[in-house]
Symmetry: C2
Subunit: 364 residues, 2 copies
């Protein structure tokens, strides 16, 4: 059985840094020697839109965030050759630290109070944003990680989900990766992010309510029912193993989109047992390698974990991840224009069955 | 008082074409002489996602649509010098025709039946998609149109809204413009689109429900209340006239976003009287010219009309348009990554008050 070791420390400005190691015997105690690290800037605000009943996060300081730095100034590389980065160690397996330009932070409440203006409400952007470095190798990608390293990332996600879910102010823990400049990633070093939201994001709130309603009406899990239907239909299945299934959803929104879920009904990443985590590492690498093979260059993608909220819908929720690319052909991207951005209805040029057939074809 | 003349004809493959003219005396009877025009391809399907309770439109034939053709092959220019386009006339003011690659069409039902698969439901993509050419000048933009021409476009929108709303199968008429390659426009000729949806798009359905609830609870219009609060606060107002107000919403999602609405409570574009339409032409040009002046080159933008649905929420709905750009700095775009695309919560780097101040500054 694998064991993931966890070492917690602090950066020079007080932000938390965690190392997750699969192998024993590393010294992770190197201090952050930066003396010029400015305190994190003004904090964010959550604003409620009464017309569309959704929150927007206003984070003015993020306009200043690091944008595609040259590789010798990458803040996610280990600290080597006199170059001080966000990670003081000379090497690491997986490192997690608090985002320097967070959309949410636990200190937000100290800076701005809740202001009610008429029927508008704004609140401090309380929560937590973390960066997860998947590898110390600047030029790697998740798809290329060794199996044991992918497993360490999964353990790190599970650890962070558990830790952030325990914070009263956090309602939802969202683990995701934005990969590729085409979808807006501002750093190329292989990394993902974790957002601890002070509310349940609306798309997940709707999914929770739908699952709860289905459970109340039928006594069954909505996702389990969907999965059973997909396994019977077969034509949209991309890959399946003893514990995991990857399929293209019938109503997929994106040119190539995969839904990856455990056969067993579990609520979140921390609830996966050892074998399920190993199985996930294999399944996830398999799926990402397919996205890397769809076109002549690896497809940009978003990978997003849909876990149960911290305290709501725990029984009805079934863990899943969605992995999708905005690339619809080697020379064309899917853009979110008026139909998607304003009307919130996606138009997809590639039917789910066609996408699934293509994704089966590019098996690693 | 202005009069807009309307001339209806058909293209070679049977699609409808309408000319809207502000000036008298043009002959719009030139026939479509194309003999090689293939019938519109396979039609689209609407698919229901039971997990997130939203529709996706699957439109495989759109993958083949015209993408950034050279300007001498523009299908929206008038037919001149032996070049046959979608518009047979040698010149036009405003022309509207059925989209050759529609997301929805009235013939969809003839090609595919409603199929229930378990608790999944797919339906033919019944509806109508139209293209609105704002000018015969390939290199123009809406922001540069003469006032009378802008007014003719508004009359065309109102005409099409009324005509499409009268079709039983259409639940919502959505007029919008995608402008700029950065946000995915596939043709540079100044044009917009009209979608007649077979359902109320989810974002508008939520807005309708919120407005109806507010009306039921308070006896007042939610948008009128919001507008009054914005006028009192003042700091997010961009521009106002006797009939129209443009402001940046308190919880704006986009770097620069303007909400434009009539002071009077009207449900849709057809309900605007003559003076309100003239006022709208002036206000809309003013707002678009501000977007053109935000950066060193005109900002790409999406302009989207939020009208009352064809038959629901007619009393509680208050007409508005949103105009927004994805450009957050002269060298940076706002991308929809994991937080927006998966969790559906926008993170905006530019507070509404800052955006409004900047938009006031760049007054035409």
């Amino acid at each position: 059985m694998d064991v993931t070791l966890r070492y917690a420390t602090r950066l020079a400005d007080g932000r938390e840094l965690l190392y997750f190691d699969h192998r024993l015997g590393f010294d992770r105690s190197a201090p952050d020697e930066r003396t010029d690290l400015a305190q994190a800037g003004p904090v964010s605000q959550v604003r409620w839109d009464p017309l569309f009943e959704e929150y927007t996060v206003v984070a003015g300081h993020r306009q200043l965030r690091t944008n595609l730095p040259p590789s010798d100034q990458c803040p996610l590389c280990p600290s080597r050759n006199g170059q001080h980065t966000e990670i003081p160690a000379e090497d690491y397996e997986v490192a997690v630290f608090e985002n320097r330009f967070p959309a949410f932070s636990m200190s937000a409440a100290q800076h701005s109070g809740t202001q009610a203006r008429g029927d508008r409400l704004s609140a401090p952007g309380t929560g937590r944003c973390e960066v997860v470095c998947f590898s110390s190798d600047h030029d790697a990608s998740f798809a290329q990680l060794p199996l044991s390293q992918a497993r360490t990332v999964i353990d790190a996600w599970a650890d962070r989900t558990q830790a952030l879910s325990a914070i009263d102010a956090i309602s939802y823990v969202f683990c995701f990766e934005n990969r590729g400049g085409e979808i807006g990633a501002t750093l190329t070093h292989p990394h993902g992010q974790i957002y601890g939201y002070p509310f349940i994001p609306p798309r997940f709130a709707r999914a929770g309510a739908a699952a709860q309603r289905h459970l109340d009406n039928t006594g069954r899990c909505l996702q389990c029912d969907q999965l059973a239907a997909e396994l019977t239909a077969g034509e949209r299945i991309v890959h399946q193993t003893a514990q995991w299934v990857a399929y293209v959803p019938f109503a997929a929104r994106w040119p190539y989109e995969v839904r990856m879920m455990p056969r067993e009904h579990v609520a979140g990443l921390p609830d996966l047992d050892d074998a399920q985590r190993d199985g996930l590492a294999r399944m996830y690498l398999n799926v990402l390698q397919r996205f890397a093979r769809l076109f002549d260059v690896p497809a940009p993608y978003i990978a997003a974990w849909q876990q149960a909220p911290a305290r709501e819908f725990r029984t009805s929720w079934h863990l899943a991840a969605e992995v999708f690319t905005t690339r619809r052909a080697s020379d064309r991207l899917k853009y979110l224009a008026g139909a998607e951005s304003s009307a919130a209805t996606w138009i997809n040029d590639i039917p789910a069955e066609t996408a699934a057939a293509r994704l089966r074809e590019v098996a690693p």
